[in-house]
Amino acid sequence: MKPAAAFARLDRRWIYLVTGLLVLLPLLWPLNLPLRPSPPVQAYHDAIAALPPGSTVLVSCDFDPASRPELEPMTRTTLRQLFRQHCKVVVVVLFQGGARFADGIVQDVARQNHQVDGVDYVDLGYKAGDEAVMVLMGQSIPSTFPRDHNGRDVRDLPIMRGVRNYSSFALLVSISAGYPGTKEYVQQVQGRFHIPIVAGVVAVGAPTLYPYLQTGQLRGLLGGMAGAAEYEDLRYERGMASRGMDAQSLAHVFIALCIVLGNLAQWERKRKEPS
């Protein structure tokens, strides 16, 4: 029996098993395959690196625990870079299920970097309304988020004294898992308020954002776990994303092989069929 024909008859559970092993084994015994930062990732890093110390940055964490493997590593690395550059960080959440999850990440990174809540950073929490909230923030952020995630009046917080609307921020960082997220920020905020935006997104959403990168509407882009791992590499870190990339690479090679064999099997089947 030819290999392609044998592949056509293969029980799919063997494919699951091999994929599982290819993911599991490199997590236990890392191969340390090389990473090369791509231009969108380099641009993301450089856009943050170019911020003067003391700049205020808006970080929109629009994701929930379902996107944790892809978006948590890039969120942590972004916050670390911002804190080390002495930037003030204002966090908002537009994803309903993500407020507590995002707050946990922000508090954890802030504590590791000795940042003071309300002075060096603040988490304004979740606000329902999707694009309407994005537009409202362009008018007044204290009116849109009267209280922070912990229920404090934002007008009493030192970090919020100079914050009125998007013009108060040097950069908007959108970490997004879908709707509402980066696409809506480009549509509603970048076009109207002309604030520079960089984005980190789940891989499945990255291809739809490349046109914005090409036109300069996005200054930089991290696409999925690979983008997060390249960003960690640029920051000389070896975090969750970098540790997962060996498994990612091996699984991709195997899936590509399966696609080739599947096409060969299909071609063989069609060739044998009576015309």
Partner: protein, 224 residues
């Protein structure tokens, strides 16, 4: 490498449910169905509670209480900033949506829907026109010679892909002759685009698997 099993009950429950879900890869079974039904039920309950506290209470109840508690003067006072008593209007529109449960008065829900659709159509249209139409058309106009061979060839390929892909969607003439050839080139570019999309989708799904394995290996089993 040594084992340090988690002592956190929540981690054990999460690990057990993860394994129940993975068991579907072998075949459908009661463990998988239990975990699936539990997930659906807990998600529904969680989001109902979340909606109540983060939408109804935070955006409607609390501001209305602040407006009507009498300590800040008139509920429409300017110093309240966002004229909180006016929130009664969206509250009423929200309640009208429930008129769909009464067939005789179901038409009243259209008023609320009209506001929702009108607001979002307005926001979407202007945002799309600025960012996806004007900016993208502007970005598509590229010089054929940029002074560097690499970027110039890139611009030629981009233009070829853009024009031929657009021609593929031109249906007013049969795709024969020059138009047929151009649309076939356009299909090739579209296939490359779909391939990139598929590759990124695979990466997303594998990332989820990696995340679960990292949880099982490091958070649950505590392998170090």
């Amino acid at each position: 490498m040594s084992l340090h099993l988690s002592s956190d009950l929540a981690v054990w429950v999460a690990a057990a449910l993860t394994l129940c879900i993975f068991s579907f890869l072998y075949k459908d079974n009661p463990f998988y169905r239990f975990a699936e039904h539990l997930f659906v039920g807990v998600s529904a309950g969680y989001y109902i509670v979340l909606n109540f506290w983060t939408v109804l209470v935070a955006n409607l109840w609390d501001p209305l209480v602040a407006a009507f508690d009498g300590r800040q003067g008139s509920p429409f006072a300017v110093h309240l900033g966002d004229y909180r008593a006016l929130l009664l209007l969206p509250a009423l529109l929200g309640l009208l949506l429930f008129s769909r449960f009464l067939p005789r008065y179901a038409w009243v829900a259209r008023w609320s829907l009209a506001v929702i659709i009108g607001v979002y159509a307005g926001l979407k249209t202007t945002g799309f026109a600025q960012s996806d139409f004007v900016a993208q058309v502007h970005g598509s106009i590229q010089p054929f010679w940029t002074g560097h061979w690499g970027s110039s060839v890139n611009a030629w390929i981009f233009t070829l892909g853009l024009v031929t892909s657009l021609l593929f969607f031109y249906f007013s003439r049969e795709h024969k002759g020059v138009l047929g050839s151009a649309s076939r080139v356009g299909v090739t570019f579209l296939m490359v685009s779909f391939g990139a999309g598929y590759g990124y989708t695979v990466m997303s799904r594998i990332s989820l698997l990696i995340g679960r394995f990292q949880f099982l290996l490091f958070d649950w089993l505590g392998l170090r």
